[in-house]
């Protein structure tokens, strides 16, 4: 983790050589760097940066995709900012991300730590955790809609009924819908994150555990003093990835509620989708859709920048 010695290959040691050698060495290093960067430059350039640039252009245009586009300046941005649904979507997205942080973020971590401390059948448990990740969303919806059935004989409500609770109107009420969607989303995604953590744990040097044992640490002590500190850089990156991911939550409200009831689960991305392809505004509004996407992207970029600055010292 600590960068002892630093990366000297490209620039550092060249200073003390003769100018011809400097040039040769620079050329060799620079060319190699270029070779390694090339796949990324090509693939990102063609399939990400270039389309994004076109999107940026679309945000200041009005186009029906048939005839020539018309320049409208910042009109699309004004349209979006004046949309009364924007604050609603913003709030819902923030609430979703918040609940997902509190409830959803620790789940895969706990699972990974527990799995990693298992002597046997670890692979099996990891496989089980991974199972929901491969379930096609269409099947997941069918399954979870029966869990969330609002009638007393829905699956969850039946279980709650045994202990005298419920029935809970899972997807049917404005206050329950977001927590319900977070629960499903966590189920669907946790397995993937578990795998990241498990992979990161493979590189914990055995000596650290041995040293901790020598100091008399128990299982919990070793987790606290060895496992978690070792995971810290990964945890920091999965946290920001989760924040970005949940800020762009789309599939759950789209598949389960269409944003309802009464916009209670309308998220930013669902709003963007509705502008471009959907119904609330009649669709076809590519300009406002791109404008909102850009504003959202800038917001997330600022957030990430602040996050990385804040946590810079913590990950090393």
């Amino acid at each position: 983790m600590s960068r002892v010695g630093g990366p000297a290959l490209v620039r550092g040691p060249a200073r003390r050589r003769t100018s011809v050698a400097v040039l040769a060495r620079w050329w060799r290093g620079g060319a190699a760097t270029l070779v390694f960067l090339l796949p990324m430059l090509l693939v990102f350039g063609l399939f990400s940066w270039w389309p994004i640039a076109r999107t940026v252009v679309m945000s200041v245009q009005d186009t029906n995709l048939v005839g020539p586009a018309e320049w409208v300046g910042l009109d699309n941005f004004r349209t979006v900012l004046a949309d009364p649904l924007l604050p609603v979507a913003l709030r819902n997205t923030a609430v979703f991300a918040g609940i997902a942080f509190v409830v959803g973020y620790p789940v895969p971590l706990v699972m990974a730590v527990v799995f990693s401390s298992l002597r046997r059948l670890r692979g099996l448990y990891a496989g089980l955790a991974y199972l929901p990740v491969v379930v096609p969303p269409a099947v997941a919806v069918l399954l979870w809609k029966t869990f969330y059935d609002a009638s007393p004989d829905g699956v969850f409500n039946t279980v709650l009924g045994w202990v005298g609770l419920g029935p809970v109107p899972w997807l049917e009420s404005a206050s329950w819908v977001l927590p319900s969607l977070v629960m499903e989303a966590t189920w669907a995604a946790a397995g993937g994150t578990v795998i990241i953590y498990l992979a990161a744990l493979t590189s914990v040097p055995q000596e650290l555990y041995d040293a901790a044992s020598a100091d008399g640490a128990g299982v919990l002590g070793k987790i606290w003093h060895v496992t978690l500190p070792h995971l810290r850089p990964v945890l920091l990156i999965t946290l920001i990835l989760q924040i970005i991911g949940t800020a762009q939550v789309f599939l759950e409200p789209y598949l389960f509620t269409g944003g309802g009831p009464s916009h209670a689960s309308l998220t930013l991305l669902l709003l963007i989708y509705e502008y471009a392809f959907g119904s609330t505004t009649g669709g076809g509004a590519y300009g406002p859709a791109t404008a909102l996407s850009l504003m959202m992207a800038v917001g997330l970029a600022l957030l990430s920048w602040a996050y990385f600055r804040l946590t810079r010292g913590w990950s090393d």
């Binding site: 002892v4 000297a8 389309p51 496989g127 498990l198 914990v204 044992s213 992207a297």
Partner: protein
């Protein structure tokens, strides 16, 4: 077809979806799904796309992660920022511009529409992979890299013989995610592969859903979900096995 009474598998599924086969397990539905829907050719398509997607994602992620983390070019931070930035733009919005790009690539004007490459190449532009890879390379012990350099390893040998072999766990993670994403991807292959004969299973099944018996469809989905699970179970031994994992409980 609809003449049978009550207890058809579809009716079972609809009435009590979590009670597995209340009318008794009916494995014939699996073979019915396999033959009736012609799953084999869609699975072949899926495997081709998943393999291509895996190759391009691993290539881009490892080379980019290596360049950004180890070689550190002058504009490295800018490039890394540009990669990160792509994460903030919702994919759903890129459909139209991406399609136009793939329909006629800049400069060369080739069209990738209707080709497997058109379906899997864009997957290579995954910021998530690059971030993951770079982070992992960042955490490799610099002493080892420096020692290799002192031994005369150039950037290529350092990559191939030192960095890659040390990266098994993260390569495993990226591979699993790459294959899985390709397996599940729906809307992009749908647009770029208009010919049903080339479509992967995750595109084909939802497309035919409105014209297909639900129980047959679910059986087909079960088949399509089973393969990545098997893949995962086989593959995880390669990257989840290590001494470190045992550490917490060894005493």
């Amino acid at each position: 077809m609809a003449g049978e009474v009550g207890g058809t598998p579809t009716q079972d599924t609809l009435r009590s979806p979590i009670a597995l086969w209340p009318n008794g397990p009916d494995l014939s539905i699996l073979s019915q799904a396999w033959t009736e829907l012609g799953l084999s050719s869609y699975l072949v398509n899926t495997v081709i796309i998943a393999a291509g997607s895996w190759a391009v994602q691993v290539l881009v992620a490892t080379t980019a992660g290596y360049a950004l983390s180890v070689l550190r070019p002058r504009l490295g931070r800018v490039l890394y920022g540009a990669v990160l930035a792509t994460m903030f733009v919702p994919i759903v919005l890129l459909l139209v511009p991406l399609y136009l790009t793939v329909l006629s690539l800049p400069v060369v004007h080739w069209s990738l529409v209707g080709t497997y490459a058109g379906a899997f190449l864009p997957a290579g532009a995954s910021a998530f992979n690059v971030v993951l890879m770079k982070r992992f390379f960042d955490s490799l012990p610099r002493e080892i890299l420096d020692a290799a350099r002192i031994d005369g390893a150039g950037p290529y040998r350092l990559f191939w013989s030192v960095v890659l072999p040390m990266s098994r766990p993260v390569l495993g993670v990226v591979s699993v995610f790459a294959v899985l994403a390709a397996w599940k991807d729906f809307i992009w292959p749908l647009i770029v592969l208009p010919d049903p004969a080339k479509q992967p299973i995750a595109v084909r099944l939802p497309s035919i859903a409105p014209a297909t018996d639900l129980s047959v469809l679910l059986a087909a989905m079960a088949i399509s979900a089973a393969l990545p699970i098997v893949f995962f179970l086989l593959f995880q031994r390669l990257f989840l096995r290590s001494e470190g994992l045992e550490g917490a409980v060894k005493g």
